[in-house]
């Protein structure tokens, strides 16, 4: 097995490779991580999150843009913040979301566990492209592609 492949439950420390911190770190768990290839993670939403008080009062719905952000964060773990010695952004430097093309098949009402899936489809110069999808209860809620740029 490739040394960079981290199958099965992945320790929470892997999340610290991300430069994001609460309250703006949306990936709450990583189940599989195959650096440079693919990853599966989770965003567990309790219903008490800060953004739900306004989105929307008495009618909470998880904002689609934050699902994109969660998918981008997981993608960052797959393709940028891999933790590989000397690897790009392995030290937690920021990547940048430069393109997103995502459709939302249905809304997500909290509480919910959103399963996040990201597969790197192309790497060109400083850019990494990913096919991404988000699921609840085995049903797809969002799918599309996004591009991250390695910064610095």
């Amino acid at each position: 097995m490739d040394a960079s492949r981290e199958q099965g439950p992945v320790g929470p420390a892997v999340l610290d490779r991300l430069p994001h911190r609460p309250p703006f770190r949306f990936v709450t768990g990583v189940r599989e991580l195959d650096a440079g290839r693919a990853g599966r993670g989770t965003w567990s939403i309790t219903g008490d999150e800060w953004f739900l008080t306004g989105h929307f009062p008495a009618d909470p719905v998880v904002p689609g843009v934050l699902i994109i952000e969660a998918l981008a964060q997981l993608s960052g773990l797959v393709g940028l913040h891999t933790g590989a010695p000397g690897g790009p952004s392995g030290d937690g430097r920021a990547g940048r979301l430069v393109q997103a093309d995502v459709r939302f098949d249905r809304g997500v009402v909290p509480p919910a566990d959103i399963d996040l899936v990201s597969t790197m489809s192309r790497s060109m110069q400083s850019l990494r492209q990913f096919d991404v999808s988000a699921w609840t209860g085995g049903v797809v809620v969002a799918r599309g592609s996004l591009v991250l740029a390695e910064v610095g």
Partner: protein, 103 residues
């Protein structure tokens, strides 16, 4: 927790639209669509894609490759494409033809 099912094979792709014509004409159709060029804009075969009027940046090129894959049904690996491919519409067309299986 129930693991998510595998991604559908065509999870994110809008259905590709097959443009009629030669490879170069089809490349021009993709460019016209992706770069939102009007129908009156002339695209010459030797028009540079980087620099010149198009001046595609690296993100444009990456997204263009994805569109080309969908349009022509080819898989363009990361290592197979260099900047010289984007020298002009003609060089991009020649590259695509080199990727397609001979029939």
């Amino acid at each position: 927790m129930t693991p998510p099912p595998p991604q559908p094979a065509d999870s994110s792709s809008p259905r590709s639209v097959q443009a009629p014509g030669t490879t170069i004409e089809r490349v021009k159709t993709v460019l016209r669509r992706d770069l939102k060029l009007g129908p009156d804009v002339t695209i010459a075969d030797d028009m540079p894609l980087a620099g010149g009027d198009f001046d595609l940046d690296s993100l444009d090129m990456l997204l263009l490759l994805t569109s080309i894959e969908k349009e022509f049904g080819v898989r363009i690996t990361d290592g197979s494409v260099g900047r010289e491919v984007f020298a002009s519409v003609a060089t991009l067309g020649a590259f695509i033809e080199s990727m397609q299986p001979r029939s």
